[in-house]
Amino acid sequence: MDNSSIAVSPKKTFGKALLYTLPMFLVTFMFITGGKPDFSDPARTVAILVTFFGMNLLYFLMHYSGKTDRYRAIIFVIFALTLSFTLIRNMILIRNSMSFSQADILECKIPFCHLVIPMMILPAALTKSIIFPGTILGGFADIASMVVLWLAATVVLGRGFCSWGCFYGGWDDGFSRLRKKPLVKKISDSWKWMPFAVLLLVALTAALTMIPTYCNWICPFKAVTEFEKVTNVESAVKAGVFISLFGGLVVALPVVTRKRTQCSFLCPMGAISTLSNRITPFTMKIDTNACTQCFKCVDSCPMFALTREGIKEGTVSMFCSKCGKCMDSCSRNAIHFGIRGVPAGTRKNFSRNLFLFVSFLFMAVFSSQPIVFTLNSLYNLIF
C-alpha cells in the first residue's frame, strides 16, 4: 500500500485557507449585494452582513479544517428552513394563508419549483407548452429562471445539486443528523432505484392527465410550503398524503436511519440528477492505494451511493450527491473529489478546491436571498 497519498491532506494553514477564501469573499460580495451595496436600511444591512460573513466563514473553515460536509450541511439546512419561512411568509402576506386558492390557479400565480421539471418535459415536447399554473418570466419563482438555474447546476454539479442546490434537501439532511447513531441499520439499498419508478410514474401520469401529478398528489414538501385549500374530500386526502410523507420520509426515517430517505427513495428530480452525474466534470474518486477498506464511508453515505464491493473496486455509484460526508469520515483522504478523466489519487487538492469553489458559489448565492429575507424579518420582529 502506497502511504504517500495520505500526505495529501485537504487541511490548510490559516493563511493559505484565508487566501483560498478571498476569491469567494469577493465574488459572493458582488453577487449578494448586486455590486451596489445599499446600507440605508439597518435591518437589511445586518441581514446581508451576517449572511455574507457567515457563509465566507464556513467556506474558510472547509479549507482550514479539510472537512466539507460538516460546514456544507449548516448552510444547506439553513437554506431549507429559510426558504420555507420565506415562502410561507410571502403567502401569508399576499393570501393570508399557506394554501393557494382557485384565483391563484386561474391567474397562474403558483410559485414554480424544480420538482415540476420531470413532469413538464413530455408535455413540453409534445404540446409545446408547460403544464403548470405559474409565470414564464417575472414574478416570484418564475419558470424560466428556475429551469435555467437547475439546468446549469445539473450540468456542472450533476447530483451534487441534491446536496448543494436543492432547497428541500436540507430538511431530511437536517433530520438525518439528529441522532448520533442510527436505530435502523439494515436497509436494502435496492430502494435507491425507487425514484426512477416514481419518475416514470409521474412523467407518464402528468403527460396523460396534463396535471403535475407529483405536486398534486405526492410532494412531501407541500407540508412546509403551500398546498391546495382543504375544501373537499379530495383536497383533504391530498393534504393527508403530503403530511404523512413529510412525517415519514423527511422526518421519522431520516432520524432513525441517518439517511436522506426522501431524496434516496422518492424524489423524481433526484433520479434525473442521478443520470446527469454521468456527464458532469466533477466526480468522487477512490484512491485504492490509500484506502484501508474500513468502510466508514459506506456507513456514513446518506444516499446509498457507496457499497463495500464498489469501494474494493474503487468505484462510486452514480447515486452520489457529492455532499462530502464520506470524505469527512475518511482519515486517510482515500475518497476524494475528483475531475472526470483525471486518475484517482492524483490532483486531490486541486480537484477539491475547484469543486468547492463551484458548488459553494452556487449554494451561497442561491441561498442568500431567503437567508437575508429571514434574518431581515427576524431583526424587524425583535427590534
Binding site: E107, T135, T280, F362
Partner: protein, 150 residues
C-alpha cells in the same frame, strides 16, 4: 491518452467554473432567452387560452376565451371555456354567452360577487356546467365545462 483525458476533464471543469460565475449575473438575460423558446408558454388548460372576443359594459369588460380541449397529442372530448370580467365589476353579473359566435346563445352565467355565488344555466348540449368560479385580482373569472360533441 491519459494526458488527453486529464486535459479534457480539467477543461470541462473550468468551463463549469465559468458557467457558475456568469450564471447569476447573467440569469435575467439567460432566463429571457430561455423564456422565448417555442415550448415556454403556459398550457391553455392553465392560462385559460387566448381571448376570443371582448365586450364592454361601462367600466367592466367581458372577455370570452377560446374553448380549451387540449390533450397530449390530440384534443380531448371534454374541456372548458373561460370567461373573465375585468375592471369595475358589479355586485350582480348575469350574462348570456355565445362562446363559439354561431349566433346561438350557449349558456347563461350569473355571479353574485358579494356572497359570493355563481350559477351556470346551459343552453347548448355542449355545455355541461360550471367549473371554477372565483374573484381574481383583475375582477372575476369563471370556467364553464364543455364537451366537444353534444
Amino acid at each position: 491518452m491519459n494526458k488527453i483525458k486529464t486535459t479534457a476533464g480539467i477543461t470541462w471543469a473550468f468551463l463549469g467554473l465559468i458557467l457558475m460565475i456568469i450564471l447569476f449575473p447573467g440569469l435575467s438575460g439567460f432566463s429571457k432567452s430561455f423564456g422565448t423558446l417555442p415550448f415556454m408558454k403556459i398550457n391553455p388548460r392553465y392560462s385559460g387560452g387566448e381571448v376570443a372576443f371582448t365586450q364592454s359594459a361601462g367600466a367592466c369588460t367581458l372577455a370570452v376565451h377560446k374553448p380549451v380541449f387540449n390533450g397530449l397529442v390530440r384534443d380531448r372530448n371534454t374541456g372548458f371555456v373561460q370567461v373573465d370580467w375585468r375592471g369595475k365589476i358589479p355586485d350582480q353579473i348575469r350574462d348570456t354567452i355565445d362562446y363559439d359566435n354561431d349566433n346561438v346563445p350557449d349558456f347563461v352565467i350569473a355571479v353574485d360577487t358579494k356572497k359570493p355565488a355563481s350559477d351556470c344555466c346551459p343552453l347548448s348540449g355542449r355545455v355541461t356546467g360550471l367549473g371554477i368560479s372565483s374573484r381574481t385580482s383583475f375582477g372575476w373569472a369563471a370556467r364553464i365545462n364543455l364537451r366537444k360533441t353534444p
